[in-house]
Symmetry: C3
Subunit: 329 residues, 3 copies
């Protein structure tokens, strides 16, 4: 898996001066870089509480949301993050774009570069798309991977570790269990790297054999195919969205059967540590990977994740734009 | 009908302090509240005349246009209203949203609340959707119903009474006739309540038996199935858009037949009071519910309604945001 | 062709005071007007280099992008141009608009006028659509034709002559060849007028007999059906996009055959003057009308055209808005 995930991340994410200039995947990030992003996000958290939720940080900058897959949630958070930083935002959705006229990803990007945009937030169905763009634009514009195929979704992982740290402190003493369709999940891959870099001593993945790659144990991750066993004593439980649309046929008997075996409920959660945190990247499939009473209950921090996600994205945009400024000005 | 329309409006629209905090339907509003909105709108009317059509009223606030039905016209007016008040605007259209992934309305709203948005402008095909959202968010964000099924469209009714007052003064001395497909019209329902609250002494509805509910007479509304009789002496004539797409089969013989019996023309309008005002919520079906010569003629105030609609929406956003501020700060 | 192109441009584009108030087509523009736009654009070019890419020129103004045809590229450039001038921008795409409910173009425009928008950027599949709107709104709002059917695309022609002047100086001494599907190209028509008005002594069009109208020679344009002959000694070569979707059947044997006969490559370009400039309006069909090595090579100014296009659109918006202000204030 590590091999399959490797798109030359380290070399591409950092500039010649060693500064982070793109955010493409968790792999290749240093722990202090992640912590710096989380600390910066902490300072943005307060802006959401104000009446005037706005800072002039990115005034006069242009951020493009270049989405080749639909995602209202992710697009909206990035759009709001950029607008609250006072940037101009250009939303480009794939289905209405000249992509349908056959233009390539890099030709589209080149056109936007020629308009001197400062940043690209890219969601694309193919793994490695954001890396390709980052290698192409170099230090000219910042690139944030907002999800590329089944590869990575780094801002999701950042908001997850932000949330865990927010409620439980450093990762160093925590047992974290990830439950669900790990095989198809860019969220899970990014979470595993983020937790690992931040020193989480025990990362578990739980799911049916068809949805949890065996190679994961080579990464030091503990693999469970039984929910109760995997949840035993966990401090944090990260549910994954069951990607019905991505799942190939025959990997699961039925949604009911899946829920019965791997669906999180308050009752199943009793196996975890008392008051264990429950995370989910959203949107949730109620009654499939998670029961409503749990999703809406006191242990759930699912909506806090959304709040934190906005702060994390404001932090990432600010830090990467700062690195841009450093090279250009 | 009153029963069917009742979604606990009064309790939901007003906060514990009695202030209006959401705009969901005309029902439950007090006359002085409506007049306060109209007076505030009057002050915004002048902004549209300026070169710099902008006030800092909502700077740093975030307004979401959450549209589960297409409506360029309504969405554009709300978007412009919010932008001219300096708010950040997030447009979310249903077909491109995660709704298609099966997320519920309230889950979508909860996610946006978690991003600390200040207001929701909601259009939804189901009656009561905006009320449901308002009950859910309470005093945390303002909610404006931009049309929910066949129930209500309060800003349309406000711009209509604004327009009538603008040209004819208070409702107290006017005969107002509403012509068309009253049965399917949220516009008509909202108009009837608004006119009634403002003391209009004679409200008439005119239309074929299949499109005018008999229960209306219980509300003190005068029902006519003959256009000439209904127009007799009317000071204001509000045409309704014939919702072809909503009409069930067999309710109308044909569009030609409809126009012949209920279509407004300059000639038919001679039955009304001299210089009677003609309103229409748009977009108009020329030659169906209204003849082009009338729609474009001197008695028509259809485009003035659009101008007034922008001012009314700026007023509503400002007043509701002010109530928010009052509770939060 | 001149007859077919004539929509009363001169009378419509200029106000009673002789100032340019709309940009509808190159036809009818004076050379000094074009040069004034190019000079103004030159001053905007520098803004794209700044960190804060923003001027307050159009603050408080509202510009509507009214697109009845999809074009991410053109829409994005106009959106960015208006935003960098600090205008509020309203994007209206046809497929999601009330046009589908049967409202006419002018009814849509009238509604937006009633909201006091300051400018319309219009793309429409029918020739003459922008002229119709300009005649309708008169001096009340500026109208920019962003492409109307096979008629005109004036900002494209302006950015082309801007680019040629930028690299080669005045048109007076240049041989310019336009290669491709001239018959269906609003770009070619606009280029021919722009070059001609600016005094280009030799304009050539090159293409198969089925795609190059014979009438063109009446305009003083030199018609070639052989690529090598047409390129001979040319200083500037403007490739046209092959509009596959517009081409009627049987006009071309095949894309391969087209490329073999009229596709631009480095080798074919050797016939042109040394270092001849290569332009293309984009998006390019690599390997059809132009080879990748040429499009990405040192003679290509295709991406510079995009940069210049943004500056030209900022200039046009500024100049036309200035004329508005002059009449209104």
């Amino acid at each position: 898996m590590r091999k399959a995930l490797h798109f030359g991340d380290a070399g591409t994410q950092h500039g010649a001066d060693g500064r982070l200039r793109h955010l493409l995947s968790m792999e290749g990030l240093r722990d202090r870089e992640i912590l710096h992003i989380l600390d910066t996000a902490e300072s943005f958290l307060e802006i959401g509480q104000r009446v005037i939720k706005k800072t002039p940080t990115l005034r006069g900058r242009t951020i493009v949301n270049l989405f080749f897959e639909n995602s209202t949630r992710t697009r909206s958070t990035f759009e709001l993050a950029a607008k609250r930083l006072s940037a101009d935002v250009l939303n480009i959705a794939v289905s209405t774009s000249s992509q349908s006229k056959g233009e390539s990803l890099l030709d589209t990007v080149d056109n936007l570069r020629a308009m001197h945009v400062d940043g690209f937030v890219i969601r694309h169905p193919e793994a490695g798309a954001a890396h390709q763009v980052a290698r192409h634009v170099g230090g000219e514009a910042l690139v944030i991977n907002a999800g590329d195929g089944q590869h990575a979704h780094p801002t999701q992982a950042l908001l997850d570790v932000f949330t865990i740290r927010h409620y439980r402190g450093p990762m160093e003493n925590l047992v974290v269990a990830i439950v669900g369709d790990v095989l198809h999940s860019r969220v899970a891959r990014s979470q595993i790297y983020a937790l690992s870099i931040l020193g989480c001593p025990e990362i578990r993945v739980i799911g049916p054999r068809t949805l949890v790659p065996a190679e994961l144990s080579a990464l030091g991750v503990h693999v469970y195919h039984d929910l109760d066993a995997g949840l035993q004593g966990a401090d944090v439980v990260c549910a994954l969205r069951l990607q019905r649309e991505r799942m190939e046929a025959h990997r699961l008997p039925s949604l009911d059967e899946y829920h019965r075996r791997f669906g999180l409920t308050s009752q199943r959660l009793e196996k975890a540590a008392p008051g264990a945190l429950v995370l989910h990247p959203g949107p949730i499939n109620r009654g499939v990977e998670i029961a409503s009473e749990l999703a809406d209950g006191p242990q759930s921090v699912i909506l806090a994740q959304v709040t934190h996600g906005l702060a994390v994205r404001m932090a990432v945009l600010t830090l990467l734009a700062g690195a841009l400024g450093g090279e250009e000005e």
